[in-house]
Amino acid sequence: MMLKRLLPPLVVVVLLGALFAFGLLRGAPDRDIESALLGRPAPAFELPLYERYQPDFGTVLTSADLQGKALVVNFWASWCLPCYQEAPVLQAYWQEYQDADVVFVGIQTQDRDRLNEGRAFLSQFGLSFPNGIDNDSSISVDWGLYGVPETFFVDRDGRVIHKHAGPVTAELMDAKLRELLN
């Protein structure tokens, strides 16, 4: 009798507990949301470059300059620790792939007017692919950026095929570059 009366509230409590545990364990759902850009043309951009890239790439890098090439577009900030983690990986893959039909583009964001910090970051890792600053975050909004680091993979037809939130890994770069260049 007692058990029969307690059963319905008990079931409700267990179900709520399970829902709570699910909510706790599923991680940050906001960050796992797929980009709205997937499969769509990558947004156009005009990126003012840091001085060290200007001899090779000009003062401003535009998406029009890069037409027909696959792109790896990496958003970073000087205060972002995972960005320090992934920078050597990006540089290593750039060195390996720079003669292929792909261009890496680094975009410093959420870092308004911190040009010196940006320069220090670029020299620390000797990043040789073009990097510039999105000072007013306009490129970031166009690309639907949530946080840093985020990396977008754009195929040679100019379509976004993948977005990765968090530091890139060698496995990811291998897989996605293969996909981009095949």
Binding site: E34, L37, D111, D136, S137, S140, L145, Y146, G147
Partner: protein, 158 residues
């Protein structure tokens, strides 16, 4: 006539200021409905992150171009998907979020109404008891009257 020039200028400046204030109020009204992409549970109006600041600039620019609220929302939804809206859109799976509270409220009210009806009906029902039961109650009431603090166990059988 020349005396009125400063007055006129002041009036124009006042009008321009009022328009600016109105525009800013509209920017924040729209920004309040958008989610800050780089924050946790904060609106674009509440956040001072660079991306939110830029989103407010974009809202203002688009309002100045005469775009409607819906067009501005569509602009951000095109980049961030429905996630960018703090209120889930009223369509598809998102309808669950809108309808569920109403459904739960209706069910809860119906349950309470049903229970109240049942309680009222029960309270109006004449008491049916066999002569033995009546005798037992009478005995126990008598015992309770004589002995204000009944021993445990004697009151559990009714």
């Amino acid at each position: 006539m020349r005396r009125f020039v400063p007055l006129l200028l002041l009036l124009l400046a006042g009008l321009a200021l009022a328009q600016q204030v109105q525009l800013e109020a509209r920017v924040f009204e729209i920004a309040r409905q958008l989610r800050c992409p780089s924050c946790v549970s904060e609106s674009v109006a509440d956040s001072n992150s660079p991306i939110s600041q830029q989103m407010r600039v974009l809202i203002q620019e688009q309002l100045e171009q005469g775009r409607s609220e819906e067009e501005i929302f569509a602009y951000f939804q095109g980049r961030y998907g429905d996630w960018i809206m703090l209120d889930p859109p009223k369509r598809g799976i998102h309808l669950v979020a809108w309808l569920l509270p109403v459904i739960v409220a209706v069910l809860a009210l119906a349950t309470v109404a049903l229970l109240v009806r049942r309680w009222l009906a029960n309270s109006r029902k004449p008491i049916e008891a066999t002569p033995e039961e009546l005798e037992r109650v009478r005995r126990q009431l008598g015992a309770a009257g004589a002995q204000p603090d009944p021993a445990p166990g004697t009151d559990g059988d009714i």
